[in-house]
């Protein structure tokens, strides 16, 4: 009790939460379930992932079928979220587009994270020249503000969904390289890593078997938080017209086309944007919850 109330209270709370020989996974789940917003986020992610898989098969209308009798129709019982300038059903297009939109962001995140992890591990583990080289490259990439790096990449290699994916992935690499490097430097000082090295583990083995698991918490938390950002970046690029073509059903592209009809058909902008917003929110809520349960220090 040598501290203030807050500390005293938290100390007793910790005491109260002392594990009763529970597995770490169960402890984690128990702690996570206490955060209602995070649970809601998680459930929404599961829901949207299911839609991404089965979405194209359960659309009420063919997402690409023109219906000239119902052009720019507002939301109604027939067309839940209205129709676009070609009479295509917006709800069906958004549902069908889940796969492409989420797939783009997820793939970009995974590729970018994986590359970032490899660079971060190498930089943190070997140190010295390799480290400073990788970190200087990251500095250079960080000098391009926000998604401008992704925009520049798309400007060079041309528009299209794949290129957006590449742009967002590249833009993800440096932040993960930095995070993982930081985590490695922290883990490297731990005794068990020194022990592994002292008994003659190879560099690669030490790195992947002993160091990498230690960085997992930072990785999982940041990866989740990154997905929301990747969805936003990808949809921004799509919105600017660098992404999907007019025929492709993709959230950002649907919204981008719809903006021309804002005054007469606001639903064209409202619904795709709402879906993007809710999906990003779900990932952010989930990521926040993960961070608070896994690693309170990152708060």
């Amino acid at each position: 009790m040598s501290d203030t109330t807050a500390n005293a209270a938290s100390a007793t709370r910790e005491a109260e939460e002392l594990p009763k020989a529970q597995s770490p996974v169960r402890q984690f789940v128990k702690k996570f379930l206490r955060r209602k917003t995070a649970v809601i986020g998680f459930l929404f992610i599961v829901f949207i992932l299911i839609l991404a898989v089965i979405g194209p098969n359960i659309t009420p209308y063919d997402p690409n079928a023109y219906d000239y009798s119902a052009i720019l129709a507002g939301p109604s019982a027939r067309h839940l979220w209205g129709t676009d300038e070609f009479g295509r059903d917006v709800f069906s297009r958004i549902l069908a587009g889940t796969q492409l939109s989420l797939g783009t962001a997820l793939t970009a995140s995974i590729i970018g994270t994986a590359a970032g992890v490899v660079f971060g591990l190498i930089a943190g583990f070997f140190g010295g020249i390799v480290d400073s080289l990788i970190m200087r490259v990251c500095d250079v990439m960080f000098a391009f503000p926000g998604i401008l790096l992704a925009i520049a990449i798309v400007a060079i290699i041309g528009p299209g969904i794949t290129n957006i994916m590449i742009g967002v992935a590249v833009f993800t690499v440096p932040s993960f390289a930095r995070i993982i490097r930081g985590a490695v430097l922290e883990v490297r000082g731990e005794l068990y890593v020194e022990v592994a090295q002292s008994i003659g583990c190879s560099s690669a083995r030490t790195m992947f078997v002993h160091i990498f698991p230690g960085t997992m918490q930072a990785l999982i938390v940041n990866f989740t938080m990154n997905i929301g950002g990747a969805i936003l970046s990808a949809s921004s690029l799509s919105f600017l017209g660098f992404g999907a073509s007019v025929t492709q059903a993709e959230w950002g592209a649907i919204l981008s086309q719809g903006r021309n009809y804002l005054a007469i058909a606001p639903h064209l902008v409202l619904f795709p944007g709402l879906v993007i917003f809710l999906t990003v929110l779900a990932f952010n809520l989930f990521g926040d919850g993960l961070r608070d349960t896994l690693d309170p220090r990152l708060n």
């Binding site: 040598s2 203030t4 209270a9 007793t12 005491a15």
Partner: protein, 331 residues
Amino acid sequence: MSETLLEVKDLRTQFKRGKKDWITAVNGVSFNVNAGEIVGLVGESGCGKSVTSLSVMRLHNERLTKISGSIKFGGKEVLDLTTSEMQSMRGNEMSMIFQEPMSALDPIMRIEDQLAEAISLHNSNMSKAEIHERCVNSLKLVGIPEPEMTLRNYPHELSGGMCQRVMIAMAMSCEPKLLIADEPTTALDVTIQAQILALMEDIRNRRNTGILLITHDLGVVAETCSRVIVMYAGNIVEEAPVKELFANPQHPYTEGLIASVPRLGKRLHRLPSIPGSVPDLSVMPEGCRFAPRCKYAQDSCKQKLPELQTVAEGHRCACPFYRNAREGAQQ
């Protein structure tokens, strides 16, 4: 007998842990501190000694804390003061220093600004030059050789001992009647510890300040205090003048505590220790809280919390089987 500065009666401090869930950290504590007296408050960590001192200063987060009982300071009831009355008392009439001097100072503020802050707050009519002079004098009081230079420093440029001197200077800058020192030497090197303790005694002698010294170190108590209060699990278990306590401890807990201090010239196979550990605040045993660890415990101990009783002049003990009584029964 000198004037009573601080009179704590039946102090209970409870912390909010959940909805309608309160835990009691201090459970009915009463003691006095007189002017010019150094009173030691000892006990293991978690016994409620820091909580007691922070309660006296009303430094707990009031939203999460319930304090009952009475704390009279200079005849005024501290618990009845308004927030602003309390603020004008803190740092002015009673002040406090803490365990970690390095982190207790604001890292991005010059020492002078931190000192001047308290002085100007409680002396609104002082000019800038007067405040500066007071800052210099405060540092001189705590034996800092080059006060002008130290005033321009940031905390990270000073050593731990220097920081604690600055803390004491800050606490003393408004000439308080009472100084509460919460483990002031725990984080410091042994040689620095002695210097800081000597400094506190010196200040007491010069200013007739009453000091409540909180520590878990019996050596510190023996060196500096005139009276000692021993706390265990939120209660006072024994109170006595320092010589009396060391020569003639009455409570089984105090006995164990003193026996566990290594002493020069005494060869022991093994240092005695008290078996078990301090009970968790949320699962306090019924009756005497030391009973589960006490070798003299009887069934009756586990039913009712024993009250402090006077066992000799100025010596109180909260155990019906205090040493004199036990020895008397044996004879």
